[in-house]
């Protein structure tokens, strides 16, 4: 499975449905990144879901404007990025895989 083609994927999670989250997690390992956005920002509110994310990878992000509109009273639990940073992130990874 040589490392030559092994580039990390950016998974984009916009849902808190258990099944969607489980599918997203099942396809990830520590080389991948995860961006929470849309209603996916609420994953931060679920301790078991957040633990599951952290166990898979340390590269966790949340889309800042979506966090601000959904959880304005809370500081993000992971690195907050804006759209410009999301664009940059998508250019430093392999495939971007969306889970809505």
């Amino acid at each position: 499975m040589g490392g030559t083609f092994l580039v990390m994927a950016l998974h984009v999670l916009a849902s808190i449905n258990s099944d969607t989250l489980a599918h997203c997690m099942a396809g990830m390992n520590s080389a991948d990144s995860l961006l929470l956005l849309g209603d996916g920002v609420y994953v931060q509110q679920s301790a078991p879901q957040m633990t599951a994310c952290r166990e898979v990878t340390a590269n966790l992000y949340v889309l800042a404007p979506d966090h601000a509109s959904r959880l304005p009273h809370l500081t993000p639990a992971v690195t907050a990025i804006d759209y410009a940073e999301w664009v940059n992130l998508s250019l430093t990874c392999g495939p971007v895989i969306s889970w809505y």
């Binding site: 984009v12 916009a14 956005l37 849309g38 209603d39 889309l63 404007p65 979506d66 804006d82 759209y83 410009a84 999301w86 664009v87 940059n88 998508s90 250019l91 495939p95 971007v96 969306s98 809505y100």
Partner: protein
């Protein structure tokens, strides 16, 4: 370094995905990147429907997409098969059914799935919203 993006919007007008796609596309252009093509698929084809009508004070994501597309002259393709199934007809398709109107917003064109898969493989990065 400038890169090229192929973006697919599968999200319906009132959903987060439609906004994510638009803001991401704006950020691409703002950073000097290019958009190979926008492809509207699934419920995303409704973004090309010109009759969407929102109450006063609510922003029309469909109009915002149109403004973005025309301002930056971006190739915006609505999947023809998905559009017909959902009733989003351009002049030609309406005429085929004896109807004399056009439901497709200016700036959008109907075309096939090949436009999408080709753009995805040409571009530096392909992203789907929705």
């Amino acid at each position: 370094m400038a890169a090229s993006f192929s973006l697919c919007i599968k999200a319906a007008p009132q959903t987060a995905g439609a906004l994510h796609g638009l803001e991401f596309a704006k950020a691409c252009i703002a950073q000097g990147h290019t958009i190979t093509r926008l492809f509207f698929y699934g419920d995303g084809v409704y973004l090309g429907l010109k009759t969407l009508t929102l109450p006063q004070g609510e922003a029309s994501i469909s109009q915002q997409w149109q403004a973005f597309i025309t301002t930056h002259s971006i190739d915006a393709v609505v999947c023809i098969a998905a559009a017909l199934r959902r009733g989003v007809l351009d002049c030609t398709e309406a005429a085929r059914q004896g109807l004399e109107f056009n439901l497709l917003r200016e700036g959008f064109v109907l075309s096939g799935l090949g436009q999408w898969v080709a753009a995805n493989s040409e571009a530096d990065q392909a992203i789907t919203f929705g």
